[in-house]
Subunit: 428 residues, 2 copies
Amino acid sequence: MLFSNIIILDENLSVREGMYVGIKGNKIDYVGKEVPKEDYGEIYEGKGRLLMSGFFNSHAHTPMTLMRGYGENMALQSWLNDRIFPFEDKLMGDDVYFATLLGIAESLRYGIVSTTDMYYFCDRMAEAVLESGVKNNLGRGLTSFTDAELWDLQAYRESKYLFEQYNNKGGGRLKVDMSLHAEYTSNPKIVRQFSEFTKELGTRMHVHISETTDEHRDCKERHGKTPVAYFNDLGLLDSKTTAAHCVFVEGEDFDILAEKGVTVATCPVSNLKLASGVCNVPLLLKRQIPVAIGTDSVSSNNSLNYIEEMKFFSLVHKARYEDPTLITPKQTLYAATRAGALGQDRTDTGKLAVGFRADLIVLDISGPNMHPVHDLLNNVVYAASGSDVVLTMVDGRVLYRDGEFKTIDLEKVQYEVEKSRVRIIGEL
Amino acid sequence: MLFSNIIILDENLSVREGMYVGIKGNKIDYVGKEVPKEDYGEIYEGKGRLLMSGFFNSHAHTPMTLMRGYGENMALQSWLNDRIFPFEDKLMGDDVYFATLLGIAESLRYGIVSTTDMYYFCDRMAEAVLESGVKNNLGRGLTSFTDAELWDLQAYRESKYLFEQYNNKGGGRLKVDMSLHAEYTSNPKIVRQFSEFTKELGTRMHVHISETTDEHRDCKERHGKTPVAYFNDLGLLDSKTTAAHCVFVEGEDFDILAEKGVTVATCPVSNLKLASGVCNVPLLLKRQIPVAIGTDSVSSNNSLNYIEEMKFFSLVHKARYEDPTLITPKQTLYAATRAGALGQDRTDTGKLAVGFRADLIVLDISGPNMHPVHDLLNNVVYAASGSDVVLTMVDGRVLYRDGEFKTIDLEKVQYEVEKSRVRIIGEL
C-alpha cells in the first residue's frame, strides 16, 4: 500500500505534510516528499488524513470484555468478591476465546496494534491473537495461596507450555511474557523461584505493583518494604519488567525503577474508576523511567478507547499536581507509541520510519472537532475522538478499515459473547 | 418520523426495548410497544440503536473553537494574557459567526441539542444558532474594570439589545440570559445593578463562580466572604442562575446554592486541564442542588465530545473522594439531559416522553465497544464513544445524521474558520 499525499507524525512525532509512505511486506519501505518510483500496490488517498504509529496498550486483561458493565459503582473488594471472581469461576475456554476476539475488534477500532495481556486460558487467547493478526505480549497470571513449590503450580506449567508453544509465533507478533499477578497473591518463595525461571527463559515479566493504597500499605506491614523494593530484593526486576499501575510508589522506589529500567504501565481511567488514585507520571518521567499507557480491563474502564485514555493520561496529572504545564501532547504520544513498543521488547516498531514494522493507523482529521489546526498534536491528544481512527494496520496488513474488520466476524463474535454472558449469569 | 423497534431510555432513564416513538412537528407524539396507527412519515429502523434525550451543554463559550489548541500546557494567567486575550482582541463579527457554526457542527456530531453560552458579538452567535436549528441560552459576558454605572457599559447595552431582539426567537430555541463574567472582573455596584436589571427582565443569570483557588481566596480577602455569599448578598442569585464551575464552594455556600436552586454547571475536563480542581458534585447532589454538565470552551477542553465529558464527570469524583460507588450512570445521564434542560428554563425537554419537545439523539450501540450488554446505562456512560451518536434531532428536525450536517455547510465553515485563524495569527 502507498499512503499518498498524507500528513504524518514522523519518527520524532513531528508533523509533516504532503508525504508519501510506502509499505512493503510487513515494513515501512519508503517515507518521503516525492512520489516513490516503486509500485507499492493500492494507493490510499491521504487528503484530510493523518498517518502515525499505532497505539500500544501496555496493560490489559482482554477477555474481561465479557464482564463489561457487570458490577459497577461498587467498592473494590465487593466488586471483586461478589461479581468478578464468581463470574470468572464459570469461564470456559470458548468464552475466553470469543471475548478475546471481541476485545481485539474493539482494540483495532481504536487504533491499538499490540497489547500486553495477563489472564488465563491463554492458549485460547493465543489462538485469537494469531488468527486476528494483532500483536500481543501474553502472560498467564500466576498466583499462589499455599506453600507449594513453583513447579507444582498449574499456572507455572501453563506459563511454561505457553512459552514453549507460542513465543514468537505469527512472525513475532505473539510474545509470551511471564506474569506474576501481585505481591498480595503470592509469597516470597514463589516470587524468587518465578524470577529465576523468567531469567532463564530470557523473557519479560509483567506484574501489578502498588495499585491500591491497601496493597501498598499491607506489603510494607508484611515485609517491611514497598512492593517495588520487595520484588527487587527477590530478583523479579532483574528481568525486563512491565509494572502496571505504580500509583503509590514512593521514595527509593523511583531509584529502583530507574536503575532497572522498568516500564511503568499507567492506567489512568481504571485508577480513577476504582478510586485507586493517580500515578506520579511527572516524577517518573523526570527520573527518565519509561512510562507507557494501559487501559486495564474493560471491567474497570469500560472501553478500549485509546484516544480517550490518552486524554485522561494528559489531564489527570495537571489536576493532581496543580500544574497545567505538566505532560505535553508529545510526551503523551510517545508513551502511547514508542514507549509502549519498547515495553513489549518490540524495538522494531512504535514509530513511523523506514525499516520499522508497519504497525500504523490513519486518523480522519477532517471532522469539525479537528478544526482549526493551530497545532495538530494538540488536536490529536485533546480533541480527537476514539473513532476518528479509520484504518489500523499491523505488520503491513490492514485489519480494520472504515468500520470493517478484515479478520474478525464481528457479528458471530458478538453472538457468541452474548451466549457466554447469558449462560454464566444463568449459572450464578 | 417514526423510530421503529428501537431501544429507548424513557423519561425515568429506564431501558425499554422494542419501542416505537412517533414525532409530530416539534414534539414527541407517541411512545409505545405497539406500532402506532398514525402515519408519522419516514420510518427510522431501530435495530442496534438507542434513542434517548439529547445532551444539554450547560456552560460554553462556543466561538472559542477558533482557538482550539492555541496556547497549550501553559500556566493559567500566561495562557490568558499571552494567548487568549490578545487573540480575542483581534476578533471580528464574521470570525465569531463562523467559529460558532463550527462549534455547533461539533456539538451536533456529539449529540448536544442545546448550549448555555457566554461570549460577545452575540448578535452573530444568535444568527448562527437560528440558522443551524439548535437551541441556545445566549449571554453577553459583562465585565467592568472602572466605576462606571451599569447603563454606561457597552456590554449592558448589548445584553439589553440582545434580549429585546432575540429572546425566544426561533420558536423559543434561542433564549437570552444575562451573563456576569465573574466576581474578579466586576464590582459590587455593577453586580447589584445587573442583578436588578436581570430580575426586571425575568430572565436567567449565567456566571462563573469559584473556578480557581486564586479567585475564591481573593474574593474572600476583598469582600470577607466567598463568591457565592458575595453574589447572594448583592441579589444576583435572586434570578434563576447557572453557576459555572463552583470548584471551591464551601461551608454555607451549599446552603445558599440549595436555597436559591442554583444550577451548578460543572466542567470536569476543563477543570482538570487548567489544573483548577474537582467540583464536589457528590455533596451538591446530596444537598439536592441541581447539577448539570458543561464542556466549557474548546480552548480549555479541547472538544465538545459530550460522552467523553460524561465519562470524566462519572470518574473524577470517585477518585477525588476515594469512593468508587459515587456518581451512578443514572445520575450522570440525568445531569446531562433533564437537569441541563431545567437549567436553561426549558421545562418542555430533556426527557423522552409524550408531549415533550423532540430534542433527541440516536446512538449506534452495535459496535464492539458496546458489547456485551449487562447494563445498557453502564455501557452508554462508561463505554460509548462520542461519535457513536449517529443522529441528532432538535425540535423534531434532523440536524445531523451519519456524518452529514443538514443545516451547516461544513466545508465552507471550516474554510472560513481557517481563514480567520490565519488572519489573526498574522496580525499578532
